[in-house]
Symmetry: D2
Subunit: 393 residues, 4 copies
């Protein structure tokens, strides 16, 4: 066992940290941000800086123009990028693009990659992932998928409504999950500038860190040629898992950066602000919160590292990524909530960046599977493994 | 012991509940609201409705134009009003006016009451309470007060900066806390339309439920005649306690209404939304959250009732109102956080009112004394009482 | 609403408090105690003292020889009695006798009362309640009852095994729950000195406060005449509810006394013991625990009082007693766990009474329905009430 | 970064696991155990088995007769040994001997090692560590040391009282911490069979897993020659740190084994026991507890591994071992508490081994520094590091 990072990775980490501190954080008060994230102009400006710094899309394969980072390397670099809410956008590792890039690398045909993936890795385009649907459609339970794909000659006709589609507004292409006539699911690729794709509205969300916000999309007889199926017909649910296990983990990595940022802000404030005769940080009650933050941050980091290493060994990590997702989303949330509390009035206003982190992060305990769904899936696996062990014995 | 409410109070409760449901909630999507709360025009429209319904400023004395509610009666009525975030504004029981009205009733001279209190009870004016200061001034520790009042002939000259002054923008008068040359504190009354009172800016806060938002005020040689001292010179800290103990409790009451609203929204959603083969509410994991919500709501209500009853008996309730504040702010927060979780994507977007309640409520664990300050003050009291009992024995 | 206790009740409370302090606590180190509770000799000595003090079996009806306490009065007196783990035995209000006495008063015939109840109220006898069974029988789910009662002439023949039967060893009579041929359940009364009732063993339990411990009983063709049926045939499950709702609450009352005792021990110790330059209680981290204890104790007390008052109004309180049971068992447990922590090494050894309270109390979160079963039953009720309200609207 | 264990270590782990399962667990019901742990006869029988299996005292250096395990290797092997409460005794890695062996290896002279360490590594003797004192002496705050050592010719005379001295009864030698006339502290070695060492009593503790229990020792003019000073005079506090940082971590390792055992027992039971129509484990509420257990166990393991690796790199790990101690003692406790809850009545009786684990483990949150002391020490370090970073910047 060895927790040492290679000198190369340490250098990349330090370079990323410096890039975020010097070139990204100064943009945090840039006015080209709204409740639907940074504007496209701001995004392009940040991307250009990351490109100049040699940090753009680092998780993509070298063939496509990335740095080909391992999962462990992503753990280290994404945490650094996540220190600013603009960092993931700058490095082109924001959701859903980061996960879409991973999925495209795994499943897309060479032609599909040239058409959609290469410009995306270059930071020129954005994408969205159209899976979640309004009630009674697919939410925490993906099997409830209602959007349909019906074969029509060499094409498929897609109909349905999707929502919580992150980055939909302004996306160049979409990966669309739809139900086939036999009940299986298939993923389809489509440019977004089609009249049959209607962005009905952008949702009013608590978070403001995702470029393009979260849209409601309607597919109205959207015709997609069979060549634009992503991977094989009928394997949609399997590909969703291919995408989701590592995507869950990269969320954990980025949010770890944000949680550390919140803790650092609270630590700085409580060392400075006096109350009842001494700095806040010298009050035991506050000190305990600082210690709890450190414990939670380190717990999250260790779960991320371990799961990333397993992914690097070729494990699927459905169980481990569920576990890491629950542990991290809850531990990181506690860190941010405690940081708000330590900051007092500063924590609930724009006087500190932590208010922003607080409202940005809450949804993380819900998306990519709420804690409850992951706990239940873990429980079934634990019982299943015990059943198998009992049979073996 | 008797938990029964009088028939009169039940009728008032039901009338308030109906008023909120039928006449206030329909305004919740009214566009005359911003991050700094409802506009003055919207406030006046709501106040007119409450007046027509006979529910305006019910906690004020009948002499001043109110209903003269006891603390227990307030517990019941304010919870109902709090069911909508516009309810407290409609009934003119929002912070800080509600507490200011109480303080003015207790301490102001007849002339002061006629000038400032009577129009406020009629819903025609608003007020603010200028105590909290930026670092290194008075925050959780009020003894760090830095705003000064210096005697100058028959007047006082006030200088200093205040922030987190709720309702400052648009307020008609202010109660200002300032430090005297001898280190004691005094409260002063002043109209707000004075050039020496500068609203430097309105803060960017997480909550959006307080009319006028939270302002930063500067007093630049503000001249106040001795007749506008509120109560006696040098008794500012004592009056702050007179104001704070019941004011803490009315926060608990109003937020109990909001927490109940969040729970009701989650309960309605989970009864309707299907996942994994049955309604969410029929999943044990969700059911447990509903049960926990009910426990927390009832716990909060019982603490409120008990403390209100003690206040009605003439107790000061410094200890009990601290305890109720911690219990309620934390229990109600858990209710809202769980409700967000049960609502999933709905909970973190404007699809449900609960997102709004979540961001509105977080600061309640901080203002009027953060949980940590109240816990410590309770601890000292517990030790002190035990010391005295030990001496007696 | 009125939280005042009558002068009479206050006097009874003070008298009980004094009795426990002066006449019961001195027995706590008496050697006539084992893992299966106080010996019969010790019990009789304590009962005689309570009788002399006019405090014996205070919840029984005056007709049977008790004081006929209301539920509210029980809340007050039982908390005082619970301050010592020997208190409930002394006052003859320990489980399961306290609940059995209540059930007998409600359901037994005059002849049954004379034979079994009167001597029990006088403190001369003890009883047990034989419901719980080993797997796959009735545990948290009472419907899994496997002990059978078969009609045979004018009698019933009972066969089956029970466990966790508190007080079985040394009990004079038992209330036995058995399944009828039609699937319903019936309660039977039987003397314990019958050869067909075999006490197979006394279980090795974590708690040591229940007289007689927890036994495993086997009924081997136990013949019971129809005249010894308790109440009506087939109404066993209904009577179990009659017994359980108030019995749950009296557990809460007695354990509240024990939790308060633990808190008092921790408060005394932390005021005295120095560390890092000052008494433990002057460390914020310890002070916060003292404050949390006070909050939890008061929360438990308020839930008990409210539910007791509802029972006094004639409500069945299935929901409310479930809620109170979960709230109290969890809040009181937190109090005791924190008290152990504050006491440090004292808390995990016989140097303080709190170790004993800790091991005695853990099972309270399990018996009379584990927290999980109550949460689920509460959830179903909340959903059911919401469904009905929706239908009505 | 690499989480892989060497093939050699995996083999040792599997061998230890098998040894515990086949040769140690069968002794768990052996009657030669009391509240003061296994008897010396039982201990010797277990030690002989470990010796035969080549697993005795594996952490000692090969020179002294051990296997010279690294900290990482200890993490793996001690968790396995801890799966049975008799495992640490069998492998001679129980507290306090395990830590004493480590300290002796680091500090003792060759002559001291031959006299005291070699027979101990061979499992022939036991030792105790006499530091903690009754109030007002050294407890959580070691600086309050009151036992004195006064120079007298070539000897020292030791006077004082110690308590919570684990393993005192039956120990062959003691490491004694005493205060010098200049206020510094020194460690002394002494055989235990001296009339000036009086075992006043063995304390009545909640745990029953430590051989020899926890004794109260009095030193009555105990004369110790200067050659029996352990290390250098005046360096007692420093050596205490040398001993404590890794000793804290080995506690975490052993208790991780016990926590896993509790979880396994709960998992097995809930897969088997039916309630409300299906096995307990198929109820979401129970499944969530199983998942939480898995998360807590993995969190504890990751913290142990990481800190062990740092120790292997030569780091002192005062901060990290504090952090691991708090995280592990609290996470493992939650696991055991949840396991009790899932086991219901089984969990609070000797029907399952988990009751024993529950009462054995509670003190772990207190000894070797209560959670509160570690949190505070972590907080000061976090502030100190931030202060230094701020100075550097």
């Amino acid at each position: 066992m060895n927790f040492e990072l290679s000198a190369e990775l340490c250098a990349l980490r330090d370079r990323t940290r410096q890039f975020i501190a010097e070139q990204v954080i100064p943009y945090e008060n840039d006015e080209r941000q709204s409740h639907h994230g940074p504007s496209e102009a701001l995004r392009r400006e940040l991307v250009a800086k990351a490109q100049a710094a040699g940090l753009l899309t680092p998780h993509a394969s070298p063939e496509m123009g990335g740095l080909g980072l391992s999962h462990i390397a992503k753990a280290v670099v994404f945490e650094e990028a996540g220190y600013s809410w603009l960092g993931p956008t700058a490095l082109n590792i924001h959701a859903p693009d980061e996960g879409n890039i991973h999925l495209m690398e795994e499943v897309a045909t060479p032609a599909q990659k040239e058409r959609w993936l290469r410009p995306q890795v270059a930071g020129q385009t954005r994408s969205c992932f159209a899976m979640t649907e309004p009630s009674p459609g697919a939410g925490a339970d993906p099997s409830m998928l209602t959007t349909t794909a019906v074969r029509d000659g060499d094409d498929y006709l897609i109909n349905g409504v999707k929502w919580f589609i992150t980055g939909a507004e302004g996306a160049d292409y979409a990966i669309i999950m739809a139900r086939m006539e036999d009940g299986s699911a298939t993923m389809f690729l489509s440019d977004m500038d089609r009249p049959e794709i209607i962005l009905e509205r952008n949702m009013d969300a608590m978070d403001a860190c995702f470029t393009g916000g979260h849209g409601v999309l309607r597919f109205d007889n959207l015709r997609i040629p069979a060549t634009d199926v992503l991977g094989e017909v009928g394997k949609g649910f399997r590909y969703a898992q291919v995408r989701l296990a590592p995507a869950r983990l990269t969320h954990c990595m980025r949010w770890l950066g944000q949680a550390r940022r919140a803790h650092d802000a609270a630590l700085a404030y409580t060392r400075r602000r006096q109350a009842f005769g001494k700095p806040l940080a010298e009050h035991e009650g506050v000190g305990f919160m600082l210690a709890d933050n450190d414990m939670d941050l380190h717990t999250a980091r260790l779960h991320i590292w371990h799961t990333a290493w397993l992914l690097d060994q070729g494990e699927k990590c459905n169980f481990e990524s569920s576990r890491a997702k629950v542990v991290c989303s809850e531990a990181q949330w506690r860190v941010v909530d405690r940081s708000v509390q330590m900051l007092g009035g500063q924590g609930v206003t724009g006087e500190s960046p932590v208010m922003r982190i607080f409202t940005d992060m809450r949804a993380f305990r819900i998306y990519d599977g709420p804690s409850e769904v992951h706990r239940w899936s873990m429980a079934r696996k634990l019982v299943h493994m015990a059943d198998k062990a009992a049979e073996g014995a």
